[in-house]
Symmetry: C2
């Protein structure tokens, strides 16, 4: 069965600081036409960062789209100064956490919401963390604090609805999986 | 530390079929102003649906935002005819799969991309599936096929980059954890 949609035309609707929005007219597999509203978003990196006490680093910050404080794993956009997604994550761990890590591992990469958006996140695992003496500053419009949680605490925070960010729920599930299968580098 | 951002004004930029876009001007914790580009998206339900052969149901469909065929767990928007997120998921499992399930469990709920969007997904687990004789039709602009995969096959599909949808990667990791911890209803 042919499932492919074919682009007929593409109308730019908005070009912003973070995202762009286009409305595409497409041809459906049955030959009819339809529209697709598509958000263009830069790719990002995120990390499961585990300290020597087996606690995960989370950052607390205000998220205006849901008008709530969130607890999230450190993450950030990949910018033109970053040589790679890993390089971007090392910069973010410095900026958001003030840490560097000796051990890094790629965990996964995924699209956050393929129905309307092209945003891709590169997810890493790191441990053997150490504090950086002269950490890089946060972005001008970025305000956050750090917290550290054990796996049982993280599972409780998910169960109670305190952690509701998809990449963070995924990170915790991955980390539990690594522990259950004994696949953890710093054991 | 006060992390809260406060809305000063809100400019509607686009009202679409699926999403709306607003640009908000906010007051930062330090009193300066900044803008936030915010996409409004309806909530959705998704399901880990496991058959009696311990295989997971995936649907293959074209996703124009990334111009690729994807493999995803069954999912869909919650609409005004649905009494609840679970009710929406039962309808989607009928429409996208042609199945009903006897056993249902809520797994998690999460925001897909809190940096710019308010989309929330309600994730369920179900098993004890049976085919529905008269299945509901798909949406007019929806074309998809069904596939069933075992856990080792799913892990291989993630490793090879064939599965890159966030909710589906999360669903597979959750299911693996359920199996690893022996917490599976149909064992």
């Amino acid at each position: 069965m042919n499932l492919r949609e074919t682009e007929i035309s593409n109308k730019p609707v908005f070009e912003g600081r973070l995202i762009d929005l286009n409305v595409e007219t497409i041809s459906l597999p049955n030959g009819k036409t339809a529209t697709r509203e598509i958000v263009k978003h830069p790719d990002a990196s995120a990390a499961i960062a585990i300290n020597d006490e087996k606690k995960m680093l989370l950052v607390k910050q205000w998220r205006e789209p849901i008008k709530q404080l969130t607890l999230e794993i450190p993450a950030g956009l990949i910018d033109e100064t970053d040589a790679s997604p890993l390089d971007a994550m090392k910069r973010e761990l410095n900026e958001e956490g003030g840490y560097k890590a000796e051990y890094w591992e790629k965990v996964s990469e995924f699209y956050t919401s393929v129905g309307f958006c092209d945003e891709k996140i590169h997810l890493f695992y790191c441990d053997t963390l150490s504090k950086i003496e002269h950490k890089r500053p946060l972005d001008e419009d970025e305000f956050l604090t750090q917290e550290w949680y054990s796996l049982p605490e993280l599972k409780q925070l998910i169960a109670s609805g305190k952690i509701m960010d998809a990449k963070t729920v995924m990170a915790i599930t991955f980390w539990e999986n690594m522990i259950l299968t004994g696949n953890q580098s710093n054991d």
